[in-house]
Structures are given as C-alpha cells and as structure tokens.
Symmetry: C2
Subunit: 303 residues, 2 copies
Amino acid sequence: MDSPIFEAVPNFSEGRDDDKISRITGAVRAVPGVRILGLHSDPDHNRSVLTFAGEEDPVLSGAVSLAKACATELDLASQSGEHPRMGVLDVLPFVPLEGATMDDAVRLANRAGEDLGSLGFPVFLYGSAATASHRRALPDVRRGGYEGVASRLQDSLWKPDFGPETLDPHRGAVAVGARPFLVAFNAYLDTDDVEVARAVAGRIRESGGGLPAVKALGLGVGGKAQVSMNLTDLERTSIPVALTAVRSAAADLGASVESTELVGLAPLEAILQTAQYYLGLRELDARHVLESRLYGPSDPRSL
Amino acid sequence: MDSPIFEAVPNFSEGRDDDKISRITGAVRAVPGVRILGLHSDPDHNRSVLTFAGEEDPVLSGAVSLAKACATELDLASQSGEHPRMGVLDVLPFVPLEGATMDDAVRLANRAGEDLGSLGFPVFLYGSAATASHRRALPDVRRGGYEGVASRLQDSLWKPDFGPETLDPHRGAVAVGARPFLVAFNAYLDTDDVEVARAVAGRIRESGGGLPAVKALGLGVGGKAQVSMNLTDLERTSIPVALTAVRSAAADLGASVESTELVGLAPLEAILQTAQYYLGLRELDARHVLESRLYGPSDPRSL
C-alpha cells in the first residue's frame, strides 16, 4: 500500500524579488521527499503561489521550512501589493491527493498549525480544518488583511487556533487549511458582453441552483466574456458535464463557447472522465495509460 | 535530459502452465531497471504476451533473460495451440517510447538480435528493423510457422539475420523487430451485421483510401458488429478523428456507434488529444496533469 500523498499550495507575500523567491522556494526544495509542482509569482499582487507535494511528513517539513524562510526573508511592514495580505506566509492550504482523505488533510493542517504556532506565527485554521463555522471561509478569516486581523484579536470569536495572541507587524498571521483539489476550468464565449457570462455563471453554479460542486463567475478577459469555474468534486460534476451546461446556457442567450482553458493542474482522472464521456468508452482508468504504468505507483496486483 | 525509454512486447509459446509462465516472466522482472507493464496469457492460443519497459540496456538484458528462460522452460516440439508459432520465444518487437526514435528501436532490435543469435536462436529482423522489404511484414516472416521457416532456410532470401542457419526443433526461431506504438481502439455498432462493420472498416482504413496511419477490420464480437482499429501514428490520425470517421461511415449505412473500447495501453498523449479535441481546450499537455508532475520525469525547467 502506497503512503497517502498531499499537496500544499502556500501563498507568500513576495512576487517581485527573484532572489528572495528563489531562497524561499529553495528552502522547500531542499526537503527530501518533497516535489515542487509549480510556482506562480505575480509582481502586481507582489505575491507568489507555490505548489508542492509528497507524503505527510515531508510536506509538513516543507511547510515548516517555508514558514521559517518567509520569516527570515520577508517583512510585512515594508511590503506592498494589490492583494489583501495578513502575513509573510499568508495562506497555507493542504489538499488530499492519492490515498489521502480530507480527514488526513485536516490532521496535517493541525500538525502544521501547531508547528507554525510554536515558531511564533498566530495561526487561523480554515476550510475543512476550521474549528468553527464562521472561520471556514478564507475571505472571512483574512477580511481587512493584517489590519483587520489585528483589530479582531481581542474578540474571542477570532482568537488564533495556535501561536501567540498578538501580531508581530513584520511577519503577521497565517491561515492554515484543508480543502479539496480544485479544477479551474474556464470557457470563453463568442461575445464581449460580460453580462452574458455572468448570466451563464449564475445558472450553472451550485449556489444558483445549478450543478453540484461548481462555483462560477462571469468575467471579461482579453476582450472576451469568460465563464470562470472551480469544480470541487469531479465525481459530482465532471468537466464535460460542466461544459455541456455552459454550452446550453450560453445557447439560450444566443452565445456559444469558442474555446476553453484549464488553469493550473488537473488530476489524470479529470482527463480520463472527459475522454470516456465523449468517446463512449466502456471503461477507462489510469491502468490503461502507458505513463501511469511506467511512472506511477506500482500496481499491487501480481502480474 | 532523461534517457530514452523503450517497450518490449514479446510473445512466447506458453499460455497454460502458470508455473512456467511465472518463472519466465520472473526472469525479466529480476532485471534491475525493467518495469513489467502487462501480461496476457491465452490458453486457447497457448501463448503469452508480456509487456515490459525501461531504458535501453535494462530492456536488452530483460529480452536476453527472457530468451534464456524460454529455452529452458519450453519445448516447441511438444507445444500445441491454435496460433501459428515458429519458436518458444516467437516474436520480440521493440517500441520507442519517451525520448526514443524509431532509429533507436531499430538499433536495440539489432543488439538484441545479435545477442539472441549468439545464444543459438536463428533471428529474423522484421518491421522497421527488417534488412529487406520482403521481410518487413511479420506474417510473411513467420508464414507456415516452424515448418514454414524450416522449409525456407535454404532459400537465400530467407537466411536468418543472426544466429545459426539451422533450426533446433525444441526452440525454433524468433522474429525480432521494431515498430511504432499501436493504439488498439474498437467501436461497437448497434447492429449484429458484420458486413456493416467490414464496410465501415474498408472506408476508414488507409489501405482503402481512408485515414492515414489507420488499420481497420470488421469483426463480430459478442453478438455485435465491431470496427477494430489500430492507430499507428496519433499525430496523423488521433482517436477522436478516427471515431468521427467511423460514426460518419456507420451513419451512411444506417448504423451508429453504441460504445467503444481501448485494448491494452494508450499513451497519455492520446487521452490528452481526445480531451482537447472535444473540450475545445486552447492547450493541454502532460504539464497540466497532476500525476505527471508527481511521478513523471522531472521537469528540466527551473521553477
């Protein structure tokens, strides 16, 4: 039995200084058993999103190394950027991947929160790791950024879960959470009318009575109306089912889908579901994929 | 730069005795650097197809170990089965996978042929490794099975490329070749009329003026008419393009495709092509797939 695999997707408050970013990510890369999957640095938001993965203990060590490096390299008091931020290491979500459950990710978030707390970071648990329902949504936890968190610290509803109950202005606080893997999938319409995208999004998203486990927004991107989706449970709504709903809702408004894009990573299962759906395949899973057999976890069945 | 990867898909003349099959495949499994991808044993044909992969030297060692084990465990003189066979190790094709070209696979086939020849196997090179055009097609090389090969040995057109010019009746001869990766993709029609499947196959296959790099046959399978396809170059004809042609040809004959199946392994690229085609994705490659980042060859770009 292979060990459960987790992903961490920390956001830290530096998106401009390549040397600092490189030293911070280097601290994670140096941890044995950690694999860096991606790094996206945004100079406007002065913020970077790092993605790394591995088994529980290496991912925990990577998170601790990252927090130490952020505290050494960054100073929130002198940081500026468009994105509301509350700490040098701002958000640290853990995502269950192969063999891991959401409960496993919640446990990992608690271990990380405890470790970061003893390093001196005030820690707020959020998402599936939240200790109260009002602390579940990330925007609520970091509302108002550093200043907002500071002003709420005396409120017993907003005490940190771990670490000091005061804020160091140089490092701030961190939100540590557990959340499902998200597939970010966007559809571009053949119109520049953002209202059409908003209407489509409103019809297909779960909160509007649409498809389960689908979040959607209508945006204007590059002169095109875009329906921007987060699919949070592919077993409940797959990519082709979401796209079919978008195409249908757009057609009702006289529009059509011109192209689509996947942002970031998608699990192989999402791609297999898609191929199976459209080809009418009787079955299709990772065992049919050459690379899964070449590089994936060994098949436990004796051959 | 990662080393080129090859697949070997040997066929050996034992499909019934599990102990012998297990010892033969165990000889390949014991070679460091070899990964067993699949084993299909067919009692009716009394024949097994083993798939294994790795870098060039381990795959060569695996092939040599396999040949020795077949010579030890099997005796062609006492073997029977429906499938025409010419040796205990009957066919040994090498397929270029990641980072490997067909020329690389031809070189590997030649190295394997030389090694098997010095072990005492008469070796006929076929496919892209063939040394003459009349020896390119596997059915021509092994026409008539053991007896056919024996009767042609005095003909200078049919001398072995390596090894002895006489046949040992216990081990026979082996065809060693290089060929492209095949995707075996079948479409089941909503009719039991095999003639419809034959007509569809005749229209879509390359030899009938249809799609490039497509071989197709019409068969009756499980009471349904089946269009059985081999796609030999997905850059020229992808799975969705082949299926679209089948659906169109079937519709012209009043039939439709009920379901499809992939037989054996498909490269990830085939699945990505399919998802990109139907979703209208602007781009999609292995870098977007989580598992490729987790388990695949490291991305050489610094992150």
